[in-house]
Symmetry: C2
Subunit: 204 residues, 2 copies
DNA sequence: GTCTATAACGAGATAGAC
DNA sequence: GTCTATCTCGTTATAGAC
């Protein structure tokens, strides 16, 4: 088995994950069924159960693959030559790309469905947000150290605001069918980190 | 029929709405059933169908009542002696109250379920956000006029950021079971409107 | 208004042939 | 790996008695 296969990126299992992922991101975990996925792929429900015994296992696989890809996107940002401000812009662009196809962030959607999720999926959803928080926290601290970003208090708290605001902007943009609504909110949100006049109020 | 009855605030229909509302806010529109509501009220499913023919009609009634109550809360804020900054704090507190019982905003939850909603519910969800936007826009413009609030660009766009950020903060706070996580984000969000140092950089 | 009873359908899952 | 066939259960909804 190749690395891509292990990550669920090739073969039948991957096709199942592709379809299921899109359905969850647009309709929610309780808004799609094995029958929906099977019909779209032209296979039977029984075949799906061979690859993923139950909806719980399918859901776990969905989050795990999504989290891996998200983490890779963040690593790609880190690997680039971008300054911290541009890194945050790229971070928001990752969200915008998800929304482009009228999809909600997978884990944002699952956060809404949280109360109905099996325990393993719950754990994975929280871990996704934790990982995002940690990444953002590091960028924010770096930016503050360089004097390139300006915010009050702890970087971790600022990171939580950013994640929530981006998730919420996606959530509300979808009913309007307007990705620009998200982009405008993201731009405005990140602009609050530019000012930095808090540090130079009234002279000596 | 009294005004309260017309608003669905008394009688059996109101009890049904109370239970259904909580279930939708915690589990989503596709995560609860007539059986859940009936069991909790100690009545039969058939009885529910007498008051609300189908899930679509129940859903419409839920949004309409919720929107009325939300609008009343905003009117109450307007009627008080608060300055614009305190009005925004009260606005965020309305959200915080909803979250207190581990509930998501009804329309935020329905925004996640949007793709699966009947047309009438979709329209009502969008109207809810539009109404919130309009209220916030007016407060923001007033605050800017008074020099009490500071933001760049159009008030409408700033209103969209605030609504999305509050909805998203609720969305993410729930999996953590931590209302303080929401409060901290809301406080930080509104603090970005206080600075206003753009206008008084480096004074004497 | 609320009940019993039941219809009609879909969802999740399994057994076993191929 | 995928199929047919089947099972069980839950969900939505209706008919008609009380």
């Amino acid at each position: 088995m190749t690395a891509r296969q292990a990550a669920g990126e090739t073969g039948t299992a991957a096709k199942i994950l592709d379809v299921a992922e899109r359905l969850v991101q647009s309709r929610g975990f309780n808004g799609f069924s094995y029958a929906d996925v099977a019909a779209e792929l032209g296979v039977t429900k029984a075949s799906l159960h061979y690859h993923f015994p139950g909806k719980a296992e399918l859901g776990e696989a969905l989050i795990n693959r999504y989290a891996i890809r998200f983490a890779e996107a963040l690593q790609a940002i880190d690997a680039g030559p971008l300054d911290v401000r541009a890194k945050l812009g790229s971070y928001a662009a990752v969200y915008a790309d998800v929304l482009q196809d009228n999809r909600m962030c997978l884990c944002g959607m699952l956060a809404a469905d949280y109360e109905t999720l099996p325990p393993a999926m719950r754990t994975a959803v929280v871990r996704f947000f934790d990982d995002n928080e940690t990444w953002l926290e590091r960028v924010l601290e770096q930016g503050a150290g360089e004097g390139a970003l300006h915010y009050e208090g702890r970087a971790r708290d600022q990171a939580q605001l950013i994640i929530g605001a981006l998730e919420g902007a996606m959530l509300v943009a979808r009913p309007y069918g307007d990705p620009d609504r998200f982009r405008a909110a993201a731009k405005r949100l990140l602009a609050t980190l530019d000012g930095g006049n808090e540090t130079r109020v009234s002279g000596p």
